[in-house]
Symmetry: C2
Subunit: 221 residues, 2 copies
């Protein structure tokens, strides 16, 4: 079996030490010693001790940008969902490392702050993208901000449930959560000029009126 | 004219000094000296130098809690809007002080982090309230979190526009923003068990199907 790359060894060593001694009590020298890697290699790989906790943050931001930029007007909302999914998948793929990070960010204020700042960077990407997609301008600004924050909130909601061991089906929950979230912003206003969305409130039994509705509104060419 | 209370003198002195010398370069002793107030008085009034920047945070949290708790099931959404309005009004009433805080929180990372943490406390209050109002449980958890974050996002959107001098009518913008935001979560799903909401998408001309729809779903006793 080939030796792990220096980056992986540094990450593994850092997380071990943070859990053994505490984050503040661990120095970069402790980490490089445990990993069997030189200090120069550490600082070629990470900017700081904090960076080791979020080793893929920049990569994820770039991947989100690329996924959004690769979409068209018609596929924009799918792109938003799929871009958020990249983050969820990355955490799930990390497994134990993601769980250790969750314990650390809950107990070390500096790391929690760093994580919140990172979350705001995601939100900013989504907001800018959605604002442009909505046509820009002041009218779309609030809506784009609301939708971007909602997408990140829904993602974090499911991710947190997975990190806490409350779900073993994070992707299925993510699909449902994102459908609900995107639905808030897309229904009932139809985006296509060819369709009308009819919202009716009735006290009648649904089963009794559905056949008539289907006849009345049935699919037409 | 009676002398200002010590609290107001300390706040005014602190903000003057932060702008003159920078936040990090100002000590509590500098502030008490400028305000002509003893060190003991400072620490009876504030826990720390940071606290002077957000002197009403705890009071606002309590006011929000009280406004929410004083509502009924029927007035819950009005209470959410009015509770958020308390924060907006407080900032607008502060005037120049709020603008100075905005400049500080944008330039001093520790203060920005503190402000974000404060925002999360607001969100938490709204989320807990809305979750209970929605009947609790896992199904309502995501929706309550989305709605709470949306309310705070809408509030902050308008507040930021006011702080940047982009609007002189913050309350009117707030009313419109909150109506849009609450509307995302209240239409078209009916909350009453006696009603069904039917959402249908059709390519037919609306005018041609509406009479039939009205007959089919017409109001019944």
């Amino acid at each position: 079996m080939p030796a792990k790359p220096a980056k992986d060894r540094l990450i593994a060593a850092a997380f071990e030490l943070f859990e053994e001694r505490g984050y503040d009590q661990t120095t970069v020298d402790d980490i490089t010693e445990r990993a069997g890697v030189g200090r120069t290699t550490f600082f070629r790989t990470f900017r700081s001790k904090e960076d080791v906790i979020f080793p893929d943050h920049e990569v994820l931001l770039s991947a989100i940008s690329a996924r959004l930029d690769g979409s068209t007007e018609q596929t924009a909302l799918v792109a938003v969902t799929e871009a958020a999914r990249l983050v969820l998948r990355r955490y799930v793929a990390e497994g134990e490392l993601a769980l250790a990070r969750y314990r650390l960010t809950r107990s070390v204020a500096a790391l929690r702050d760093r994580e919140i700042a990172g979350t705001q960077q995601y939100q900013h990407l989504f907001r800018r993208f959605l604002h442009r997609w909505m046509g820009g301008g002041q009218d779309a600004a609030l809506r784009a901000e609301l939708m971007a924050n909602a997408v990140v909130t829904a993602h974090n909601h499911v991710l947190r449930r997975w990190l806490r061991g409350q779900t073993r089906e994070p992707e299925a929950e993510f699909d449902a959560a994102m459908a609900d979230t995107v639905g808030l912003f897309t229904a009932p206003a139809a985006r296509s000029g060819e369709h009308s969305v009819v919202v009716f409130q009735t006290t009648k039994d649904l089963d009794s009126v559905l056949p008539g509705l289907r006849r009345l509104l049935g699919e037409t060419p």
